[in-house]
Amino acid sequence: MNNNYRNLSDEDLLHRIALKQDREAFGVLYQRYLHLTLGMCIKYLKTGEAAKDATQVIFVKLWTDVHQHQVRKFKPWFYQVIKNHCLMELRKKDPNQKIVAEWDMELMEYDETLHHKLSEEQLILNLNLCLRALNAEQKKCIEHFYLEQKSYNETALLTGFSDKNVKSYIQNGRRNLKNCLKQKIAHLLD
């Protein structure tokens, strides 16, 4: 595989696939995201075989349909493609089943970096303010993980929460912090 392709960004590779049907670019993107796509499909479809088939279909869809979309950021777009496909497969299996709503609402955040909108000092100040506003569990986990540089395992031992809960608190806490920060930025820029 051409080493130059490995240094291209996801968006550049996608652009080449869309414009020139570049198979080498597709190959690089495939290698980068195969394990992630398969893992996600296993999570939602529950079996290895179903996940394998879904992975293949998703990548073929990427190849055939990419020129129909204007993709600004590859990762969140691809995440949505995988999720939509898994949702479709689940509905095919059981049309009457109500798909669990929780992961429908989890949109992959891909915010533009907030660094450009505020100075570093303002960011830090507002982050600290927002951190205080979090609920106790999220605040504890975020402090242990980010400020004390503990691992997930260590944070779980210190807080007494399970590994799964620690991850969840950190992810949700992080999302809440970002939302709080966005509100503060909007307020400051008004």
Binding site: H35, L36, L38, G39, M40, C41, K43, L127
Partner: protein
């Protein structure tokens, strides 16, 4: 305080997604502590990797499953045709083109194909064909300019003028397009190459002046050295001849002072150079770590290789370890094994971690 600020800002960081090696390493819990931290920081901010990890951790034999996934057969995709731009009709008289025989034959095929399709404006087709011709003429001019810079002013300029004339004559002979649209382009290209020629002349004069200055400086320094040497030899000779007790001492003092000052200069230069080198090596390792954290393993490997080139560097063995990790991530297993074996043989601080990586690689 600054450390805390950096740590809190990590909440907003977004790095590149995890590689297969990192994800598998995390699942098997055989990551080096710094790498573990990088992976977990990323997992906290990336839903795609987080969901993938959840899925892969829920079934056994994930590696076997991954290996069994085959690259799908990609179907041919017909891209939508771009709409043909309608241009105003222009009266065109067909003219013979002796210099463009190959293209003429191709153009004949194309025009025949279009005639079959009963196109309303044959003029439009001829207009479209001249665009590539114009581009080709431009390319020839650019090639001529490059040739000129390589071989000198006189020859290339003649060629350039000849080329533009031929290009112009070709374009003039081809009456399908309105020539008004092509000539200004040629003039613009000519103007730009003239400016490039002038600039080149100015640049070369500037370079000559710089070179002259450098030579003068070197000459001055050589003269100074010669003067110093002359002085010392004169005083030594005088001391030998005169047999004056004071003179030899003075003679010895003068050169010794000069040698001491020269030595001091040399020493300070050496230490400055050492400092610069150390700084650059430190910064190479740091730069390598930055690239590594962003999963740019190829770039990271370059920096780590530079950092590990000096045995005296305190980060030398760490850099060797990361060279191994980068090679592993780039699927260069043999190279990775060599790096880790070096660490183990030298009984470096990273021996345990390196041994783990070796076991993993050899097991694969």
């Amino acid at each position: 305080m600054n450390n805390n600020n950096d740590k809190i800002l990590q909440i907003l960081d977004q790095s590149a997604c995890l590689s297969k090696g990192q994800l598998m390493g995390y699942l098997k819990r055989n990551l080096y502590p710094e790498e573990l931290r990088t992976v977990e920081l990323h997992l906290s901010s990336c839903a795609l990797c987080s969901d993938a990890l959840d899925g892969l951790s829920s079934i056994p034999n994930t590696e076997a499953l991954l290996a069994s996934v085959v690259l799908p057969t990609l179907p041919a995709v017909v891209l939508p045709e771009k709409p043909i731009e309608k241009k105003p009709e222009v009266k065109v008289e067909a003219a013979p083109r002796p210099t463009l025989k190959k293209r003429h034959s191709k153009a004949e095929q194309v025009t025949a194909a279009f005639q079959q399709q009963e196109i309303e404006t044959p003029v439009v087709q001829k207009v479209n064909w001249l665009k590539p011709l114009g581009i080709a003429a431009g390319l020839i001019i650019v090639a001529g300019t490059i040739w000129y810079f390589q071989f000198g002013p006189g020859k290339s300029k003649d060629i350039f003028t000849a080329e533009t004339e031929t290009a112009e004559s070709n374009l003039m002979a081809d009456n399908a397009t309105p020539t008004d649209s092509i000539q200004p382009e040629v003039m613009a290209i000519r103007d730009s190459t003239d400016m490039a020629l002038e600039k080149k002349g100015e640049d070369s004069l500037f370079l000559l002046a710089k070179d002259k200055e450098r030579r003068l400086r070197e000459k001055d320094s050589l003269n100074n050295i010669a003067a110093i040497a002359k002085d010392t030899s004169v005083t030594l000779i005088a001391a030998a001849k005169g047999k004056d007790t004071n003179m030899p001492q003075a003679a010895m003092a003068a050169p010794s002072e000069q040698t001491v000052s020269a030595k001091k200069l040399a020493e300070t230069e050496d230490t400055e150079q050492d400092k610069k080198e150390q700084k650059s090596e430190k910064s190479d390792f740091e730069l390598g770590m930055q690239q590594y954290k962003n999963n740019n393993f190829a770039s990271a490997l370059l920096y780590f290789k530079t950092a590990e080139s000096d045995d005296k560097n305190p980060k030398h063995w760490e850099a060797v370890y990361y060279c191994g990790m980068c090679s592993k991530s780039l699927d260069k297993k043999r190279r990775a094994i060599k790096y880790f074996e070096r660490i183990v043989e030298a009984n470096a601080p990273q021996t345990k971690a390196a041994q783990k990586q070796l076991d993993d690689l050899k097991g694969q």
